[in-house]
Assembly symmetry: C2
Homo-oligomer: 163 residues x 2
């Protein structure tokens, strides 16, 4: 479709992150299954619950705009997942695999942090206050998830991988 206004761009980008979040609902259980450290499995499962909420929030925003919730293939997330699959397939050591899973999960978190940061700025600019509030709530959860993964890596998982 032709994008002519910032509102059109917001709408198109919402479709992109909607695809990404729905794909993550399917992908995170696979990542949790691959993980060895129980605390890492637990962190990923916890983030899955949050991700399900993020999907619902996006659906609320579509509804507030009077639009149907539609997902548009997110090439960036597809690339991130492809890279994750390739890297994890090459790893023979379980502790090293956990480090790689955290690393990949953080590239996904940062993709979402970038997207939600942009979407909430646009929502403010467009006077869509309800949408901005929902997007900021998700943004804070993505940042917290990223920080949690950094903590797990630095305090536990990387030590084991380097041991």
């Amino acid at each position: 479709m032709a994008v002519k206004t910032l509102e059109d761009l917001f709408h198109e980008t919402l479709k992109d992150i909607y695809y990404a979040e729905k794909k993550l609902v399917k992908t995170l259980p696979k990542m949790a299954k691959k993980a060895t450290a129980p605390e890492l499995k637990h962190a990923i499962q916890g983030h899955l619950k949050e991700t399900e909420t993020h999907v619902k929030r996006i659906e609320q925003i579509f509804e507030g705009m009077g639009k149907r919730a539609v997902a548009k293939k997110c090439e960036a997330l597809e690339g991130l997942i492809k890279e994750t699959d390739e890297v994890t397939a090459e790893i023979e050591d379980k502790e090293t695999l956990d480090s790689a899973i955290i690393s990949s999960a953080q590239t996904v978190e940062h993709y979402e942090i970038a997207r939600y940061g942009t979407l909430s700025a646009w929502a403010h600019e467009l006077g869509m206050d309800d949408a901005a509030g929902l997007l900021e709530a998700t943004l804070e959860e993505e940042k917290a998830a990223d920080k949690k993964l950094s903590g797990l890596a630095e305090e536990q998982v990387n030590h084991r991988a380097a041991a």
Copy 2:
């Protein structure tokens, strides 16, 4: 190749970000050309200079490890660029295009922030202090570039797109 240790994983991930940085040296001039706002063009050109330094720092790290500098196709960055090309091709309004360029550039910055954060943590864990220092220097520049883009978007570009 089979990854057996954290050092192997560090090495493989270094190849990935080396590919990404070299690809960005080619991609950023195209983004600068598409941008309309002079301050956005200028910001992208400034980041191109930094990116050239990032490439050299990675080559220094390969050298410090006694390894040849080799790039490995980074599927994540390919996905981010594909998404950028698709979105910008759909946009008919110049101000909206600038907002989209900033948005895409920030997804790339965040990919790099995630990667450099991980690589510097691994370098510390592996006792590679020189590498860690180089990686942290780049990490700080990526964070600053991201912040600069947020400022440009919120103070100037988004207003014009929404006007």
